[in-house]
């Protein structure tokens, strides 16, 4: 898993749609599909989707090659440049130590995104296994596992993560674990209902009648057919996970300063709201725009699936 997955997944959606053999057969109001030109036209009709993909791509590049976007050192304090408002030299202004806020935002991206990816992976690994076992084996396994999920869902993600961080300490890895555990419940729910849907199909009965083992059926048939909606949920949850991780880092539970992190960057401007509005406003706005874009892409994928 890498951070690059998100935009790659977006590119993969549109062209991979099989071309209909009979063109006019498309239902009225349905999406135009087919040649690359049609795909391009389809994309141009959705300017916000294209824009969102571009924003996500840029932010991913911030994470991968931060040096490309800023010549400043994110940790270097220049006492002659303290609390400067935004300008072409300092896009987001400078902070109380004379550090360039935009540079700190760009350099904080890798840590924030990595924390989020780890959280999502944890939530999805455990949630999928629980949902798969509950949905496939049913009966007692389903009853017990879904009660566990009910409990996880009874405690809001932010609060559960706060409890876990109390137990295992502050830091980015700890935040990822806390938020990841908080995501298990909703993932398990979706995985379970998908697995139950697939399991009732005739071809599963056919496999079983031919003596296929559970492990084979799960790996070869159930998982590939159930994983789609779960992946869409992963991208939707990615936005929610970033917000939760940033909120926890805002409260000061993440990696301690001076290491830049999105949430703690916003928090560091709290004391300067009246004198240096840019310090928390602009990093916060960037987080908001990024999450709006991630969710725009997730909704597109969701609609794409449900229209099929």
């Amino acid at each position: 898993m890498s951070v690059v997955d998100t935009p790659a997944a977006v590119d993969a959606v549109a062209p991979s749609v099989p071309a209909p053999t009979v063109a006019p057969a498309a239902p009225p109001g349905g999406r135009r599909r087919g040649s690359a030109a049609a795909t391009l036209v389809g994309l141009l009709r959705k300017p916000t989707l294209v824009l969102s993909a571009l924003v996500v791509l840029v932010v991913v590049l911030w994470a991968l090659v931060p040096g490309l976007f800023s010549g400043y050192d994110p940790l270097y304090a220049d006492t002659s440049q303290v609390l400067l408002p935004p300008s072409f030299e300092h896009l987001f202004g400078t902070d109380e130590l004379g550090r360039d806020v935009f540079t700190r935002m760009v350099h904080g991206t890798a840590l924030t995104l990595l924390t989020t990816v780890v959280a999502v992976v944890i939530g999805f690994a455990f949630g999928s296994v629980i949902g798969l076992a509950a949905g496939y084996f049913g009966r007692i396994a389903d009853g017990v596992l879904m009660r566990v999920v009910d409990i996880l869902l009874a405690i809001p993600m932010l609060v559960l993560a706060m409890a876990i961080v109390t137990a295992i300490g502050f830091g980015s890895v700890q935040l990822a674990i806390g938020v990841g555990i908080g995501m298990i419940g909703s993932v398990a729910r979706v995985m379970r209902s998908e697995v139950m849907r697939v399991r009732q199909s005739t071809f599963i009965d056919a496999e079983r009648s031919m003596g296929a083992r559970d492990g084979y059926i799960i790996a070869r048939h159930v998982l590939p057919n159930a994983v789609g909606p779960v992946l869409v949920l992963a991208i939707l949850d990615f936005g929610a996970a970033i917000l939760t991780i940033a909120a926890l880092s805002f409260l000061g539970y993440g990696t301690p300063p001076p290491t830049p992190e999105w949430g703690s960057l916003v928090a560091s401007g709290r004391a300067y709201l009246t004198t240096a509005w840019w310090m928390s406003t602009l990093p916060g706005l960037t987080i908001a725009v990024f999450v709006v874009c991630i969710n725009r892409i997730a909704r597109e994928l969701q609609n794409d699936r449900s229209s099929r």
Partner: protein, 324 residues
């Protein structure tokens, strides 16, 4: 009656389980809680006798299973233990903070429901395509805004620039407005989305066509028929967001310097005050369980179709909590 009993039993079970989960998370922590209580400053070295006394006082010398049942017995009698940090009973500390956060959460709930219904309803009711698209695009944006940032921006504009509201404190209605709106935005977004979606679904239903054919005005069909039915799933969502509002009080109370459960939770996490953290987590889980129970019980009252044998399953189906 059987339905009510089953829902209450399920709620009690989730509460017990939530208690057990928080116990497991927080009490199997690596490290010696006695050291935390005696003093984490590091300057003063606690003597072994002091540590032993603290262990005996808090029961850390007992086996884990004994501690678990003692804690469980405590919860059943309303005793959530002693705060490490404050050296006071957690129940009293929470009791002192609950009212403020409850008021804040209820205000935010009202804002979220009103804003959500207005935005979602207007998006469907309006005949202007552009306005409808604009209103439809608001909820996804609202759901994507970082709460902590919204709070800071509102504070900057309405407290420091315009001076309309106090930037800190918890006295009176004025101090409720900004933190309440901050917390309400994600909730309003999900209510608007669900309301608009179910409105669009129910406007295609036969009874809406019948009402229109009988000559009812557009407004009358909308409010009396389509919206009435579309409110049902919206109530489920409203129930779901209540516990989230309590959770997000940790952020808004910290930003707007309001005393309350959220602020207490933040302080307790910072100080590793385990009984306090577990007490507040339990209270928030209880809020979730109780609101869901209320919604479960109110549902058959609002929807006459669900007042029949086997209602339990029917209600949960209708609410989208189980699959057919």
């Amino acid at each position: 009656m059987l339905y009510v009993l089953r829902r209450v039993l399920a709620a009690v079970f989730v509460m017990w389980a939530a208690f057990t989960v928080t116990f497991i998370i927080l009490y199997l922590v690596p490290g010696d809680p006695a050291l935390l209580i005696v003093g984490g400053d590091g300057g003063v070295q606690a003597t072994p006798e002091e540590l032993a006394a603290v262990r005996a006082e808090y029961g850390f010398d007992q086996p884990v299973i004994v501690q678990y049942f003692q804690a469980l017995g405590g919860v059943l009698t309303g005793n959530l233990g002693m705060s490490y940090q404050m050296r006071q009973p957690v129940t009293e500390l929470i009791g002192a903070q609950f009212g403020s956060t409850f008021a804040l959460a209820m205000f935010a709930l009202v804002v979220a429901v009103v804003a959500g219904l207005v935005i979602g309803g207007a998006a469907v009711y309006t005949k202007s395509r552009i306005l409808s698209q604009l209103l439809d695009s608001l909820p996804p944006i609202g759901a994507s805004l970082p709460t902590f940032w919204v709070g800071l921006v509102l504070m900057q504009v309405f407290c420091f620039q315009l001076g309309w509201f106090p930037s800190a404190g918890d006295r009176g209605f004025d101090s409720l407005v900004l933190p309440g709106i901050t917390m309400a935005i994600p909730g309003a977004a999900s209510i608007a989305q669900v309301f608009a979606k179910s409105l669009r679904a129910s406007s295609r239903d036969d009874y809406v066509t019948v009402a229109t054919a009988k000559g009812a005005s557009r407004m009358r069909v909308f409010i009396g028929h389509a919206a009435r039915n579309a409110l049902l799933p919206t109530i489920t969502v409203a129930g779901m967001i209540v516990a989230g509002l309590f959770a997000y009080s940790a952020i808004t109370e910290s930003i707007f310097s309001r005393a309350g459960l959220g602020m207490a939770l933040d302080n307790a996490v910072q100080a590793k005050d385990i009984p306090m953290v577990s007490g507040i987590v339990l209270v928030i889980a209880a809020v979730f369980v109780v609101t869901n129970l209320i919604v479960d019980l109110v549902y058959p009252i609002i929807d006459p179709r669900l007042r029949r044998p086997g209602a339990s399953k029917a209600v949960r189906l209708q609410r989208g909590l189980v699959e057919a």
